[in-house]
């Protein structure tokens, strides 16, 4: 979550107060839009990603995970990369954001686990916005996307 919003440069997370660098070499993404430690974001975009037209500017909480719609015909998985779902704590707007290379994998898993306990209405709200939130049955996809195909999935109760 950005404390200063006017630039695309380094920022101090207003949620966990850590200074976050936005260097492409570290994050692997061109536009850093959430803190890699707590995964919170800030409601800055209104119509399109990066337009910076929102006046809300409230913190956005990571509420779950989804998959980007894949466009490659012959890719191994039918669906694309793992994405975070953020919800604005003030106006309840939803957005999806790419996971950066240095995002904390354990926190991403924790977000996924917490999302399994979300009310059914939240899943419906996501679907109304064209977002399919990952459910318990998608644990293998989440794990392999975070740790690779060779990694073993630990015995975790996802329910």
């Amino acid at each position: 979550m950005k404390a200063r919003l006017a630039t695309f440069g380094d920022f101090k997370c207003a949620h966990c107060r850590v200074i976050v660098p936005s260097v492409h070499l570290v994050s692997g993404v061109n536009n850093r839009n959430h803190c890699p430690y707590c995964l919170w974001s800030c409601h800055l975009d209104l119509y399109a990603a990066g337009d910076r037209l929102s006046a809300c500017k409230a913190p956005m909480k990571p509420i779950g995970l989804t998959l980007k719609a894949g466009r490659k015909k012959y890719q191994r998985e039918a669906r694309g990369e793992l994405m975070l779902i953020h919800q604005c704590t003030e106006c309840r707007a939803l957005s999806i954001n790419r996971i950066a290379a240095d995002d904390d994998s354990e926190t991403v898993l924790a977000v996924f686990q917490e999302s399994l306990a979300l009310a059914h209405q939240m899943h419906i709200l996501c679907e109304e916005n064209g977002i399919v939130m990952l459910k318990a049955g998608d644990a293998k996809i989440v794990y392999t996307q975070l740790y690779g195909y060779q990694a073993e999935i630990p015995m975790i109760s996802w329910a």
């Binding site: 404390a3 919003l5 006017a6 209104l46 910076r52 037209l53 929102s54 006046a55 809300c56 500017k57 106006c91």
Partner: protein
């Protein structure tokens, strides 16, 4: 005219005129139907300091002389007092008080920032934009509108190249933002002549100035308003964004046949705000002015991240355009 004549009749050789053109230290002053090519007195670059210890003293001895640092003490539109040296030539010795001035920080690399008066004594500012070719940059229009509001000069937004409306399908939606705020907008086409008569009526009897980036058709409009002028115009480049080429290279004021004057300016690429405080910026956005003071932090609110900001709430309620709010934030970041 010899020196003795000057001393005996000072009222006759000091005349008042209006600066119509300036170019490389030469100022063309119009006075009594004549054009006088003037230079500038060095006194206009200096400030004479008199002793203040005894205000009743009859002796006015200059104590000190300070250099005044400005780009140019004389602007087009200024009413000046000049001394005529020979037929058609003279020297400007005084700039008379200005009714209004449109200024910007001079775009010259320097440690100190100097004021550059683009035009003075203007009654109307015409920010000229296009429907397309070049693509309109509304953030630049917001800069002009703020500067005009700060200078307390009325504006008329002129949108040229109406004949190219098919190239920009979102134009109507974009210009509607300004209409809703209450800014007068005039759609014209220098190529087809549409809206030119209405523009002429608006310019009648006023000292107006056209501002805008290169290629928007300021000089083409001038030629359409007064065909006899025949000022040089060029087509915009063929690049993706249709950027204009710098055709007009100096500032000049033209006398209009139907009454009034119009200043044609070269394309302005950079237009910073001059002498505007960050805290007063919202007053120059008419749609925001009504919300000032209603924020949780009252007059201390920066309308950025503060909770309970009335302006941000108004943006979210769609009472204020998010594009205008973004312009406000960008301008505030510069001040």
């Amino acid at each position: 005219m010899n020196t003795n004549d000057k001393r005996s009749s000072p009222a006759h050789e000091d005349d008042i005129g209006v600066v119509f053109r300036k170019n490389l230290g030469h100022y063309t002053v119009h006075a009594n139907g004549r054009e006088i090519d003037c230079s500038l007195s060095s006194l206009l670059h200096k400030q004479l300091i008199f002793p203040t210890a005894d205000p009743t003293s009859l002796r006015h001895t200059v104590q000190d002389v300070r250099e005044i640092h400005h780009v140019d003490p004389v602007a087009v539109g200024d009413r000046v007092r000049y001394v005529e040296a020979e037929e058609g030539r003279g020297m400007i010795v005084e700039v008379l008080p200005r009714n209004s001035k449109l200024s910007r920080p001079a775009p010259v690399p320097s440690q100190r920032v100097f004021e550059q008066v683009i035009v003075s004594n203007a009654d109307l500012i015409l920010p000229v934009f296009t429907v397309a070719n070049p693509t309109p940059k509304w953030a630049l229009l917001d800069r002009y509108l703020v500067s005009a509001a700060a200078a307390e000069i009325p504006v008329l937004i002129v949108i040229n190249k109406l004949d190219l409306a098919w190239k920009n399908p979102s134009f109507d939606e974009e210009i509607e933002i300004y209409r809703r705020i209450g800014y007068p907008v005039l759609l014209v086409s220098a190529a087809t002549g549409e809206g030119i008569e209405e523009l002429k009526q608006t310019l009648h009897g006023k000292q107006s100035v056209m501002v805008g980036k290169s290629g928007v058709g300021k000089t083409s409009l001038l030629n359409a308003i007064q065909p006899g002028l025949g000022q040089r115009v060029r087509a915009v480049g063929n690049g993706k964004f249709g950027k204009g080429r710098h055709t007009t290279t100096h500032l000049e004021m033209f006398e209009l046949d139907f009454g009034g004057t119009l200043v044609d300016t070269p394309g302005i690429r950079e237009f910073g705000l001059w002498n505007i405080m960050a805290d007063e910026l919202a007053y120059f956005f008419p749609e925001m002015a009504g919300y000032i003071g209603q924020c949780k932090f009252g007059m201390s609110c920066h309308h950025d991240l503060e909770p309970g900001c009335a302006i941000r709430k108004a943006v979210m309620a769609e009472a204020i355009s998010p594009y205008r709010y973004q312009s406000y934030m960008n301008l505030r970041g510069e001040l």
